[in-house]
């Protein structure tokens, strides 16, 4: 019977940084453990330690005992056996997929492990994950959801005994989240799921371990009570399963952007917009599945793309902050980034960055790419703030943010909405419930305004079994 047992006394990176201390996790056949915690709490490090990557590939050290389906991955001999026994799904499909087509990606796992029936298995797996029709497409032509499905296929095509998943719902729409949960539920062996959005998995896991500062802050066993959920939330974990739409707090002070009778897309229309407005004083959310045209709408409003036809009006300057904040940074240090934004934008973004990141200036000498995901998001928004936009366009601004950073982001957006129209494209039901004043849904090629309650129902019903 396959098992995962890890008792880690201490885990350090090659720099000497101690990332984990006194962390124990165990899952036996058919049991699932969720590891949650705020950004930087050591969740991903735990997976790197448990799989032996930390010791065998990254030059770090792990003191403790690990049993991964009967092997010790901390030893070189055991680490060689990890791929045969373990399926690992990483957080970002772009950083997991190595091959140019889905067929090659799945074959890569099987051929590495010497499967004689690699071809048949690969096709079976692609068919099971709904990718057989796109087996020889270039990976870049797949949607975000299809890329996630491909990582699930390539990570489990060899029938591993145990499964480890790192933030498997990051950047996914709730419909694909639903598919991922179904997949997690169907896996027969023990699983460790690292995920800060614990709410998605509370119904399928047996235990929740919350990490904080590299240590175990709390453990919760199924069934999870309301008290447990409150405690998880207090520890920075997004655990609230039932969301309630709050009353809109903003009001339309002046219309900043309008799209009417327009069709948006690249060569062919992706989204038809009958009537869309965004006002100063409001936070407007745009929801819909991956590939439904939300980002296209934001890019059209930002002037980066032209509509195929119809009216697009924006009064003043629009500023678009992309989903991946890394593309927003052009300079080798945060300090230079902020200074350049001030020089060209006309407003000093440092107070915003310091208030958000809570750095007091200590982060400013670092390269932007070394910041945590949440900090990079802050920096992207701080840069946008410097340009005094009248229309601030944020693409999936809450991806990868823990509850604490999320709450500060919502407060910032509320404050920015007093001087600019704020439009967010998001899958995050919580953001819609708690921050949005109005909601548009991109569904089946049309953008329509929907009530908050309806939008919330749409997003929440998509992932629930």
């Amino acid at each position: 019977m396959a098992e995962i047992e890890a008792e880690i006394g201490e885990a350090r990176y090659s720099t000497g940084y101690k990332a984990l201390e006194d962390v124990a996790v165990a899952a036996s056949e058919g049991r699932r453990v969720l590891v949650a915690g705020p950004s930087g709490s050591g969740k991903t490090t735990l997976l790197l330690a448990v799989t032996g990557v930390m010791v065998n590939l990254l030059g770090g050290s792990v003191r403790g005992f690990i049993n991964l389906a009967g092997i010790n991955p901390l030893e070189a001999r055991g680490f060689r056996e990890v791929p045969r026994l373990v399926g690992v799904i990483l957080q970002d499909p772009e950083r997991q997929i190595a091959m140019p087509t889905p067929l090659d990606e799945v074959l890569f796992t099987l051929e590495n492990l010497g499967f004689s029936d690699a071809e048949e298995r690969a096709w079976r797996s692609l068919e099971a994950f709904g990718l057989a029709g796109k087996a020889l497409w270039w990976v870049e032509a797949l949607s975000g959801g299809e890329k996630r499905r491909l990582t699930l296929a390539a990570g489990t095509v060899h029938d591993p005994q145990v499964l480890l998943l790192d933030e498997p719902t990051a950047s996914l729409d709730p419909w694909i989240v639903g598919e991922t949960i179904k997949f997690v539920r169907s896996f027969p062996g023990p699983e460790i799921i690292v995920e800060h959005k614990a709410r998605y998995f509370l119904n399928v896991v047996d235990e929740v371990i919350v990490l904080s500062g590299g240590r175990v802050a709390a453990r919760f066993k199924r069934p999870f009570t309301e008290n447990d959920i409150n405690k998880m939330e207090n520890l920075g974990v997004d655990a609230r399963v039932e969301l309630k739409a709050s009353e809109p707090q903003g009001e339309c002070l002046s219309t900043v952007a309008r799209v009417a009778g327009a069709r948006l897309g690249y060569d062919t229309p992706v989204l038809s917009v009958d009537d869309f407005t965004a006002c100063r004083g409001e936070i407007v959310a745009v929801v819909g599945p991956n590939g439904s045209g939300k980002t296209t709408l934001l890019r059209v409003l930002a002037g980066q793309r032209k509509p195929l036809n119809g009216l697009v009006e924006v009064r003043g300057r629009a500023f678009y902050v992309p989903q991946n904040p890394d593309y927003s940074f052009l300079f080798p240090s945060v300090e230079k980034e902020l200074e350049e934004a001030r020089r060209l934008g006309g407003r000093d973004p440092r107070p915003i960055f310091r208030a958000l990141a809570g750095s007091g200036g200590s982060l400013e000498t670092m390269p932007p790419f070394k910041l945590s995901h949440g900090q990079r998001r802050w920096l992207g928004i701080a840069v946008a703030y410097a340009y005094r936009p009248s229309l601030l366009l944020l693409d999936e601004p809450t991806t990868g943010l823990d509850i604490s950073l999320y709450s500060r982001l919502v407060a910032l957006l509320r404050s920015l909405s007093r001087e600019a129209a704020v439009v967010v494209a998001t899958h995050d039901a919580r953001l819609v419930a708690e921050a949005a004043d109005r909601v548009y849904a991109a569904l089946e090629g049309d953008l329509v305004e929907v009530g908050k309650v309806e939008a919330l129902r749409l997003l929440e019903s998509a992932w629930r079994p």
Binding site: L90, M99, N112, G133, A154, F329, V383
Partner: protein
């Protein structure tokens, strides 16, 4: 829907045979000096390859006549500097300009050589999918590290293009010039691209190792039995080898 097979569903010869053919023609074109033998290579490989290339890449083939003109100018400069062709008979003279047979001959040899090599490469790229070529390289015994790097490059190229588009859009939005001019401009483009690429490469490496890359053994999948296309390639190659040997 195609539910089996390793190869992309397109007609044409097996990529492994095409690789061997292209490699052999390139080798013959590099070592051969005889214009007559090179003419055979050009007619048998260069013409079909360039025709296919013209259909796929169109204007890019303008580079070929430019290369030939460059070869001629180069030969003339060497002649006038007295470095080569000093005793060559004169082929033509236009006023004070003398064109020696040496320059004519060198231009023909280089032109035919380049056209044959380009034709062989264009045949390969025109008749086989790049992913099939990479998979065939592994079947032919290329090191797994090289094959992985090529496959990853193929995965990365479209991603890099889309990332470049993102970075250029950010630059424009932040008030930097559309067309990069100074080294600083280029640095602001390269920095995000490289930073993202390095991070991604680390994680792809972790992903590959966790999926057993270090356990990978050479794939013992030889090329399939030769069919009509492969027989045609073998005959064409035999003809050209004979031309090189006899002419």
């Amino acid at each position: 829907m195609r539910l089996s097979g390793y190869w992309s569903p397109r007609g044409g010869p097996d990529p492994a045979y095409l690789i061997l053919y292209s490699f052999s023609i390139t080798l013959l074109a590099v070592v051969e000096e005889s214009p007559r033998a090179l003419l055979v290579l050009f007619l048998v490989t260069g013409v079909p390859g360039l025709t296919l290339g013209f259909l796929r890449f169109g204007r890019m083939l303008v580079l070929l006549p430019l290369t030939v003109i460059g070869a001629f100018i180069n030969a003339m400069i060497l002649y006038y500097l007295g470095v080569a062709g000093r005793n060559s008979p004169v082929a033509a003279s236009v006023g004070p300009l003398v064109v020696p047979w040496y320059a004519v001959n060198a231009t023909i040899v280089i032109g035919l050589r380049i056209a044959s090599i380009a034709g062989a490469g264009l045949l390969l790229s025109g008749l086989a999918n790049p992913r099939d070529v990479i998979r065939s390289l592994e079947a032919l015994g290329a090191p797994k590290g090289l094959v992985f790097s090529l496959a990853y490059a193929l995965r990365l190229l479209p991603l890099l293009f889309s990332e470049l588009g993102e970075v250029m859009a950010v630059r424009r939005q932040r008030g930097y010039r559309r067309v990069p001019v100074t080294p600083g401009d280029y640095a602001t483009i390269m920095l995000p691209l490289l930073s993202v690429s390095v991070q991604r490469a680390v994680w792809v490496g972790v992903s590959a190792e966790l999926r057993g890359f270090r356990l990978r053994r050479p794939l013992r999948r030889g090329p399939p039995r030769p069919g009509r296309w492969e027989t045609l390639l073998a005959a064409a190659l035999a003809l050209q080898v004979a031309a090189v040997a006899l002419l």
